[in-house]
């Protein structure tokens, strides 16, 4: 699969999966951080924010060591049949890790805005925690969750450094839009670089606009 795909198609594919992964993980973590107190909460919180401040090279290097041939690579491949390093799943992992903090923070805010009284009222009416999440929290916070997912997708679309180290820059296999731009500039193919850069900027701007609209509805302006 994905063999021979254009950079645009690969970018959309990788970013969609990465955005989705970051969204699922982000919602779960946001729930945990907003509603639960437990030992090591600050530690977990710090860990989720780490990819926001670490250089992409450090993240890429960790992933390369962890998932590579000298790390868990051969084990994972034998077990799941998936190769991460220098293949698109590696790009998905790198992009979802960098997207997670953005998703988490956005979703967290929208969870935190739900008043405790609504929750308690639901509990009094006999809601289980699971029902509380699906029937109450999700319907109220959906805009924030969607905005978080879109932001995650956008961050994944813009991912470069860690992806370059883990997935490489192989045309038709791991060459996403940002890789293709880097490649075009190195090859002094400025027409291509311009075209791809404009495409990426246009997509990012359009979706940011969407996120802003969603956010406005949350805050109620």
């Amino acid at each position: 699969m994905v063999n021979g795909w254009s950079p645009l198609a690969l970018s959309l594919w990788v970013s969609s999966l990465a955005g989705l992964a970051a969204l699922v993980l982000g919602v779960a973590l946001a729930w945990l951080l907003v509603r639960r107190n437990f030992r090591g909460k600050s530690f977990l919180e710090g860990l989720t924010l780490l990819s926001l401040v670490l250089p992409p090279t450090v993240l890429g290097y960790y992933l390369l060591v962890l998932l590579g041939q000298r790390g868990l690579g051969p084990f994972i491949e034998g077990f799941l049949g998936i190769r991460f390093v220098f293949a698109w799943p590696g790009a998905v992992v790198a992009a979802s890790i960098t997207a997670l903090p953005l998703v988490l923070q956005t979703v967290r805010v929208s969870f935190a805005e739900i008043s405790k009284e609504i929750e308690d009222a639901a509990r009094v009416d006999g809601c289980s925690e699971w029902q509380l999440f699906w029937r109450v929290m999700l319907p109220i916070a959906w805009r924030g969750i969607l905005a978080g997912g879109l932001l995650g997708f956008l961050r994944a679309l813009g991912e470069f450094g860690a992806t370059l180290m883990v997935a490489g820059n192989i045309p038709g296999r791991t060459q996403t839009l940002s890789m293709a731009i880097y490649d075009a500039v190195q090859a002094n193919n400025l027409a291509r670089a311009n075209g791809l850069a404009l495409l990426l900027t246009g997509m990012a701007f359009g979706m940011l606009f969407l996120v802003l609209r969603l956010n406005r509805r949350i805050v109620g302006i």
Partner: protein
């Protein structure tokens, strides 16, 4: 509002679906290719037609793009080229990158992979000897005909490939050291990741001068002069089939093509000295 939102998402999804099926716009210098007709996996559709990925040193950018195009035309197999510095590509192969053939700018890197059984011993072959050139941007208004000219204060940046992992960078450093200039010019030096990035810095004029491979020097933006080969270790370029290649036969076919009747004239045209041949070259002089 909700409707508009879902419409936007729908459009996005459609865009993704279309992009996946549409013809690949990636047919540029780095991936010379006619995307196989239809959207199916070409390797599965026709067993006689396969795809190989060639990791090639950056100095091969122009020559290999031409050779790969000719090979695709004559043999029907698709060749995807990945360019980088030899050291970086070797490191990627150590980490399991899915390359079929490795064309290094220095045989030492092939030998290092051979020690770890990552390339096939019987496939190791010399295919070219490279040269380095002193290059200057035409618009920069500097006169650069020998290495001492790099000391000119008008030259503020000198672009060279990174000596740590790019063989042409290592040769550049040796040449500057042999000429006794390394310490004096070092503050002006900027590293490109590989030959083509160093070249790009000179092409744009962000570096007024630099040192790159002869094989990529024939671009309109720059002038160049050959650097005496005795100032550095020979740039003996070797290739080898990667041990994990699923298509060693086709990789071998492409390797022979490079070193064969069709490939050699192209390599010669880009200034490479070929195995078993003596150099006959007209040094280009700066006007």
């Amino acid at each position: 509002m909700n409707k508009r939102l879902s419409l936007c998402l729908l459009v996005l999804l459609l865009l993704a679906a279309c992009a996946r099926q549409g013809p690949s716009p990636s047919a540029n210098g780095s991936s010379s290719g006619n995307p196989a007709a239809g959207s199916g996996d070409p390797a599965l559709a026709d067993p006689a037609q396969a795809e190989i990925t060639v990791a090639a040193a950056a100095d091969l950018q122009f020559a290999f793009s031409d050779i790969a195009a000719l090979f695709e035309e004559q043999n029907g197999h698709k060749v995807t080229l990945v360019f980088g510095s030899t050291g970086q590509l070797a490191q990627q192969i150590e980490n399991g990158a899915p390359y079929d053939l490795f064309a290094a700018a220095n045989i030492d890197f092939v030998h290092q992979l051979l020690e770890k059984d990552l390339v096939l011993e019987e496939s190791v072959a010399l295919y070219a000897r490279g040269r380095i050139v002193l290059a200057a941007n035409r618009q920069a208004g500097v006169r650069v005909t020998n290495l001492e000219d790099l000391l000119d204060p008008q030259i503020r940046h000198i672009a060279i490939p990174n000596p740590e992992h790019a063989p042409y960078g290592a040769a550049t450093r040796q040449a500057l050291e042999s000429a006794g200039l390394w310490d004096a010019v070092q503050p002006k030096i900027v590293y490109g990741e590989n030959v083509r990035q160093a070249l790009q810095y000179i092409q744009t004029g962000d570096a007024e001068a630099g040192i790159v491979a002869l094989s990529v020097a024939d671009v309109p933006e720059i002038t160049w002069t050959l650097i005496d080969e005795s100032l550095h270790q020979p740039l003996d370029q070797a290739l080898a089939i990667v041990s994990s290649s699923p298509h060693p036969d086709i990789a071998g076919q492409f390797a022979r093509f490079i070193n064969g009747e069709q490939g050699r004239p192209i390599m010669r045209r880009y200034g490479f000295v070929l195995p078993g041949e003596t150099p006959i070259m007209n040094p280009n002089t700066v006007p």
